[in-house]
Amino acid sequence: MESASVTLGHATGDHHHGPPEANKSSKVDQTTLGLLIFLVTEAMLFGAFFASYFFLRVVVNDGPWPPEPYELPVIVAGVNTAILVSSSFSIHWALEGIRRGNRKAATLAMAVTWLLGATFLFIQLNEYIHVGFSARDGAFGSIFYGLTGLHGAHVIVGLILLTIVNVRLWRGHFGPKAEDHRGLELPGIYWHFVDVMWVIVFVTVYIL
């Protein structure tokens, strides 16, 4: 049998201690691709809550939205949006810094990003305390806290990632070559996602 001889020839080959190097059938980095696909999943998770928002606000709601007597602090949330969006720029600055070998800029920009993110979260929590309704106050309250809370959870995860990146920067990790700063670039991609998602949440929940 032909295949049997193939296997025999194969078995007498020289010995390796470990798997063979996999063939690279694509230029994209594996972890980056995995993260991007994961972000599709994340976007769809938000999609489920947006779908719920659509049904609650458009399909079954009659009367004003937000229902009386509730009001949303659009100005505060707008300022908060600006804070979060600027953190997207600062994290890009950090990435550019490390790409050009400017460790100081990277470290500074990363710390700024972390602070901006933490500020956003703080203001958000503060808003929860003063907004005047809870997740139990009608479907409006539920979906408001559902969407902003889901996003807040992502900010928390993002901040944990950024904390790790900051610590690694202080310890002198990362370098200008692409494979030497993936650990900074990937949390950055996640952070951009969290920002973009917030802009959509903000526009949907506060503006429209």
Partner: protein, 639 residues
């Protein structure tokens, strides 16, 4: 720290489980104390302390068993031990109970565990049939009955069919594309270990106060939002199983895109690879919807939110929309990998190239795209906006087109082939085509609004789902398990027992599910413990046939166990198949290949003289003649 806590394993897993659960429980109690609430809350939809413990407990288990060790060390900045591959391969049966990053070991873990869940779900089904043998209620009371059919479906769908396909693909897909492993082996291990968590939650729900969940596998609100605590077990089990399939899907996608052997362009990928590519696309984009909606149910139950509370402005029907936006694609998640298996088995055992290979691949992609546009065909009688009905009917009928293309391609492949009828894998594939066509036809009938209104929530729907899920998914699973049994175990199974298994299964399957069409058309409702006496005769017949169906699976278990231990040794390629997994020994070496093979042609060139799909490095005896010039420039024919 006691030794047991340092070493990942079952002792530490037990600690982790207990500590995790106690932590979650304590956290809730402490928070409640801080907010001045009574410490323990035992409203039937509440039990927050238990619900949180049900999340943190399994996480503790996963930590204890060792799923997170590497990552935690990495995060803590500790020295990451260079991979010595000690966790590759399994030396004895005990290694299958440890965290292992070898895709072949994980594949076997998947298949064995999910088959166990198949038997558990099967037991529940036997309970359902026993109760339905006669009109009236004899064996279980209506509530228990509701629990039985709900757990039956939940086991079968969430922890058997979906992960079983993931397990089969885990084993064969990296081999098929010439990769040494999956792209993220540690994530792969985590995907597997999430499953016992999901299954254990489903089983534990039987011991919950108020009994197991009983709102069906669909868990419609407001039935589920007001149900006893068992329902929360279901909500959480779905999250664990869902996280597992999402992680696996990401793994498959990255593996397929980045790790194919040289020369394997997309049009040379075996159809099983195409099928898992399509399935994974469905999983990553659809599964978050069921995750989201189960979270909302959980919030409504535990935090008293109002997503589905109509009196407070909630929308009950939104549950169904969001649920089916996942669960219609999910029925294809449960079918497409099977389509892939059938293509492999049929072309190999009929010795013919797959008819219309490219169209087969495109049909898969077509199904993926279309399946996002048909969800509301499950909701024709739900009271949703009525203008949605006709568009959904049209898209539903459209999706039958790519499905039909696949059927005709298989028939074209079989046409004038040398069909090996003594092969059990082939028998299950032929049986699949037969039963799946019936299921497809009843599906198209259900897709038509007037007929669906007539038979909604009757046994006609039950007949449909079992023709597509048992006659479809389960038959393809068996075809796949038989086909790759020699490769996985290195032993041949007993074809005679295999044929007994097939014919008993087919007879039991037809005897059980064909009459359901008729009693359904006459109006016997589904999901009710009792029924009117006019259906008594058929129901007795159905129960008897289902017992045959159940017994048949014991033949399979016997065959597998005995053959695995005592079966004759299998050669590398007992079926004379072309794809890469058959080029290596059975079972394959620990690292699959010494060197990555080179792909020089299509995967199904049966009967084409001199055609090869792939050659192993160092195999200079093989003369490579290519019937068609390679489409990839870099692949030469000289070594």
């Amino acid at each position: 720290m006691p030794v047991a806590l340092k070493q990942a394993g079952w002792w530490r897993a037990l600690y982790g489980l207990v500590i995790g659960a106690a932590f979650g429980y304590g956290l809730v109690v402490a928070l409640r104390a801080a907010s001045g609430l009574p410490l323990i809350q035992t409203e039937q939809t509440g039990y927050p302390q238990l619900v949180v413990a049900l999340i943190t407990g399994p996480l503790g288990f996963l930590w204890g068993i060792g799923c997170f060790d590497y990552w935690l060390r990495w995060i803590a900045g500790g020295p990451t031990v260079p991979d010595d591959h000690a966790d590759h391969g399994a030396k004895n049966w005990k290694d299958y109970f440890k965290v292992n990053t070898d895709h072949k070991v994980i594949g076997i873990q998947y298949m064995v565990l999910t088959f166990f869940f198949f038997l558990v779900g099967g037991l529940a089904a036997m309970g359902v049939r026993a109760e339905l043998a006669q009109p009236g209620t004899q064996i279980v009371d209506p509530n228990t009955y509701n629990g039985l059919f709900s757990t039956h479906a939940a086991f079968m769908i969430f922890v058997f069919i979906i992960p079983m396909f993931a397990g089969i693909a885990n084993y064969v897909l990296p081999l098929m594309i010439g990769a040494p492993d999956m792209a993220f082996p540690r994530l792969n291990a985590l995907s597997f270990w999430l499953l016992p968590c999901a299954g254990a939650l489903l089983m534990a729900s039987y011991f919950a106060p108020g009994g197991t969940f009983d709102a069906g596998w669909t868990g419609y609100a407001p039935l589920s939002t007001g149900a006893p605590i068992g329902q929360s077990f279901f909500n959480l089990a779905v999250q664990f199983a869902g996280a597992s399939s999402i992680a696996t899907a990401i793994n498959f996608l990255v593996t397929i895109v980045t790790m194919r052997a040289p020369g394997m362009n997309f049009w040379r990928m075996p159809l099983l690879v195409w099928a898992n590519l399509s399935t994974s696309l469905l999983v990553v984009a659809a599964t978050p919807f069921i995750a989201g909606v189960q979270f909302m149910v959980l919030f409504d139950r535990v935090l008293n939110t109002n997503f589905f509370e109509a009196a407070m402005g909630g929308d009950v029907i939104s549950y169904q929309h969001i649920f089916w936006f996942y669960s219609h694609p999910a029925v294809y998640i449960m079918m497409l990998p099977g389509f892939g298996i059938i293509s492999e088995v049929i072309s190999t055992h009929a010795r013919k190239p797959v008819f219309g290979y490219r169209l087969m691949a495109l049909a898969l992609i077509g199904i993926v795209v279309l399946s996002y546009s048909v969800w509301a065909h499950h909701m024709f009688v739900s009271g949703m906006s009525s203008w949605l009905r006709v568009p959904m009917m049209i898209t539903t009928l459209l999706i039958a087109v790519p499905t039909g293309i696949k059927i005709f391609s298989w028939l074209g492949t079989l046409f004038k082939g040398k069909i090996h009828l003594q092969s059990t894998a082939m028998l299950f594939s032929l049986g699949f085509i037969f039963t799946f066509v019936i299921g497809g036809i009843s599906g198209v009938m259900l897709g038509m609004v007037p007929l669906d209104i007539h038979v909604s929530d009757t046994y006609f729907v039950v007949a449909h789902i079992h023709f597509v899920l048992f006659g479809g998914s389960v038959f393809t699973i068996f075809a796949g398990l038989y086909h790759w049994f020699p490769k996985i175990t290195g032993r041949m199974y007993d074809e005679r027992l295999g044929r007994v298994h097939f014919w008993m299964t087919l007879a039991g399957m037809l005897g059980t599910f064909i009459p359901m069409h008729w009693i359904g058309l006459e109006g016997m409702p589904r999901r009710v413990a009792d029924y009117s006496a006019e259906f008594a005769a058929w129901n007795l017949e159905i129960t008897i046939a289902s017992a045959i169906l159940g017994l048949a699976q014991l033949v399979f278990v016997y065959n597998v166990v005995v053959s695995w231990k005592y079966g004759p040794k299998a050669s590398a390629n007992p079926w004379r198949a072309n794809t890469i997994e058959w080029l290596v020994s059975s079972p394959p070496p620990v690292f699959n290949f010494d060197e990555i093979p080179r792909v020089v042609g299509g995967p199904y060139e049966f009967g084409v003289p001199g055609a090869r799909h792939a050659i192993l490095a160092g195999d200079d005896k093989a003369t490579v003649e290519q019937p068609k010039p390679a489409t990839v420039g870099s692949v030469g024919s000289s070594t």
